[in-house]
């Protein structure tokens, strides 16, 4: 799941895959804007065929938190 997510992250922000750590924060460390982040989750919805709740994802801060949330849905 972590690897799958990093593949998608590099399409949205200018970071190298190997620089993405579980504790990396999307906005502060990886340079996402809030709308980049929402758009990426929309893409993940399609790729993983899951339904993401917009109200819940505003509290996801780090890559690990995203992995945990998505693992619950899959």
């Amino acid at each position: 799941m972590f690897d799958q997510l990093t593949e998608i992250i590099v399409n949205y922000v200018e970071v190298q895959k190997e620089d993405i750590k579980p504790e990396s924060r999307f906005i502060e460390d990886l340079g996402f804007t809030s709308f980049d982040f929402m758009s990426m989750l929309g893409e993940i919805e399609d790729e993983m065929d899951v339904e993401i709740d917009q109200e819940e994802v505003v509290n996801i801060r780090t890559v690990q938190e995203a992995v945990d949330y998505l693992s619950k849905l899959a």
Binding site: I27, M38, S39
Partner: protein, 512 residues
């Protein structure tokens, strides 16, 4: 063609007379379970249904004794939200749209302060309805917008509408108060902007943007914002547009493919993300990229709410998409100026709307016209500071060129305007962070698009409590604040100072 309308009633009725059987609103609904997975489908309501449903809501509110009262609306954009809004304002009541992202406690404070007697909510905000029922003594009715609700004693919007007479004989006048909209104040306390039917209806209809009836608009911004409400919903209705509701910010790309819009109203943050999408596939021909990202039929982005880098206008042009940049504020219902297809200039925020004039006083832009608010609800001092002889002091610095185009150069007031068009009061966040003993002084500001807090800690307190990792402790305070703050008010950067801030003669921290 646009014709000037001076009440929202007139705006809706004339649109219905002209476009009755055409779709007014399209939206996604969840279909029945199909093999364990819920499919979505698109439903539509015509202009005749929109008018009829809103008139029944007007009649239902009148039956409840709510005519002339203040009625708050909270929830995501939906057909029920839109019909409720028209139903409220056209019944002679005042609609108070609330920001669904705010914490429930803050919303209860706004409900109290705006003297709201009825709260219309969707089920995602049932927690607000429950808390308001307990904490807001002036509230007499709770109305659930759709389906089942978990809130005790709540009424159901569509049941009330079905039982009500088909319509009332009431027709609002242009000078009647239609809406109170909250906007960030520089003192940290949000202000209720009072807008009449004329303010809103004339703002939505004064300018002919060259839009054609049947044009497809997809609405993506939060509906409680003046920009979205006025330009997507009110203007959309007046020109006979088909308004498609984007159900989530997560699904903008997917919904563009579904609804195939011609135009989307955006804030700069969205323009930036979509620009990346366009550039990602820049090795294939521009028309194909545009078709892939937006669809062949797409032609216009209206951008407002915050500063947009003009480079994006040039970039989108390459793909055959026009970005029309405008300027406004809730206090002017909200559009003040806009570029249009026939009149536009690079770097400018456009010419003033036909119902509005501007002048420059000590570099500050002042505007006057039929869209200027009546004042801030129950805030006479703030109103007097902002309105002078009918002129609205915008707080923005700028100039008007010889062709009448407006240009912005800076801000006079101390507000952070984020790239998603939200106005954030630094003082509000400073007050919240400063409430902690470890924070002696704090300054909140914009830092490259992110909100930053610079803190001078109380060193005496830190040593008394034997705090060694000052930065870690201060970050914990910020994390705690961020937990309940809406995304756009969160602090993403921390800077720790080892000396006090420089002060001015009144002992206030120098901001610049």
């Amino acid at each position: 063609m646009n014709e000037l309308r001076s009440t929202l009633y007139d705006l809706l009725v004339k649109a219905e007379e002209a476009y009755g059987t055409q779709d007014a609103v399209r939206y996604k609904v969840k279909d029945a379970d199909q093999g364990g997975k819920k499919k979505t489908k698109v439903e539509a309501k015509t202009y005749t249904q929109l008018r009829r449903d809103s008139e029944q809501i007007s009649a239902a509110l009148t039956e409840l004794g709510e005519q002339g009262k203040h009625i708050a609306l909270i929830g995501a954009t939906s057909y029920s939200w839109i019909t409720s809004y028209y139903g409220i304002v056209n019944s002679g009541s005042v609609a108070v749209p609330l920001d669904a992202n705010l914490p429930a406690e803050d919303l209860c404070e706004l409900i109290d302060r705006a003297d709201v007697t009825t709260l219309v909510y969707d089920e995602t905000k049932a927690n607000v309805a429950r808390m308001a029922a307990e904490k807001c003594p002036g509230l007499t009715h709770l109305i659930a917008m759709e389906g089942e609700t978990s809130v005790p004693n709540a009424l159901h919007l569509w049941e009330l509408a079905a039982k009500a007479p088909e319509r009332t004989d009431f027709e609002p006048k242009p000078e009647d108060l239609a809406t109170i909209m909250f906007t960030s104040g520089t003192t940290g306390k949000s202000k209720g902007v009072m807008l009449t039917h004329r303010n809103l209806a004339e703002n939505a209809t004064a300018q002919d943007m060259g839009y054609e009836p049947g044009m497809v608009i997809m609405t993506v911004l939060p509906i409680h914002h003046a920009y979205c409400l006025s330009m997507d919903i009110l203007k959309g209705t007046s020109i006979g547009a088909i308004i498609c509701i984007n159900d989530s910010l997560l699904r903008v790309a997917k919904n563009i493919k579904l609804f195939e819009p011609n135009m989307i109203l955006m804030v700069p943050l969205m323009v930036e993300t979509l620009a990346k999408k366009l550039e990602e596939a820049s090795f294939i021909p521009a028309p194909l990229v545009k078709a892939k990202v937006f669809g062949k039929q797409f032609h216009t982005v209206c951008s407002g709410g915050a500063y947009l880098n003009p480079d994006y206008i040039a970039l989108f042009k390459k793909y055959g998409i026009t970005i029309l940049q405008g300027y406004g504020m809730t206090e002017c219902a909200p559009v003040i100026s806009t570029n249009s297809n026939s009149e536009k200039k690079d770097g400018s925020i456009g010419k003033c709307m036909p119902n509005c004039e501007a002048k420059i006083v000590d570099e500050e832009i002042w505007v006057k016209g039929t869209s200027v608010m009546q004042g801030y609800y129950k805030m006479p001092e703030e109103t007097a500071e902002t309105l002078e002889d009918g002129w609205l002091k915008t707080g923005d610095l700028g100039y008007i060129d010889e062709d009448g185009f407006l240009f912005l150069t800076g801000r006079k007031k101390n507000l952070i305007i984020t790239r998603n068009g939200e106005n954030v009061s630094p003082e509000e966040i400073e007050n919240k962070l400063g409430a902690n003993r470890l924070v002696q002084e704090v300054l909140v500001r914009d830092c490259e698009g992110l909100i930053e807090a610079e803190i001078f800690p109380d060193l005496e307190y830190a040593s008394k409590k034997r705090i060694k990792d000052l930065e870690g402790e201060l970050q914990k305070i910020i994390d705690e604040y961020n937990k309940t703050a809406p995304l756009y008010k969160r602090v993403f950067k921390l800077k720790v100072r080892d000396v006090e801030f420089e002060k001015n003669t009144t002992k206030k921290i120098k901001r610049f």
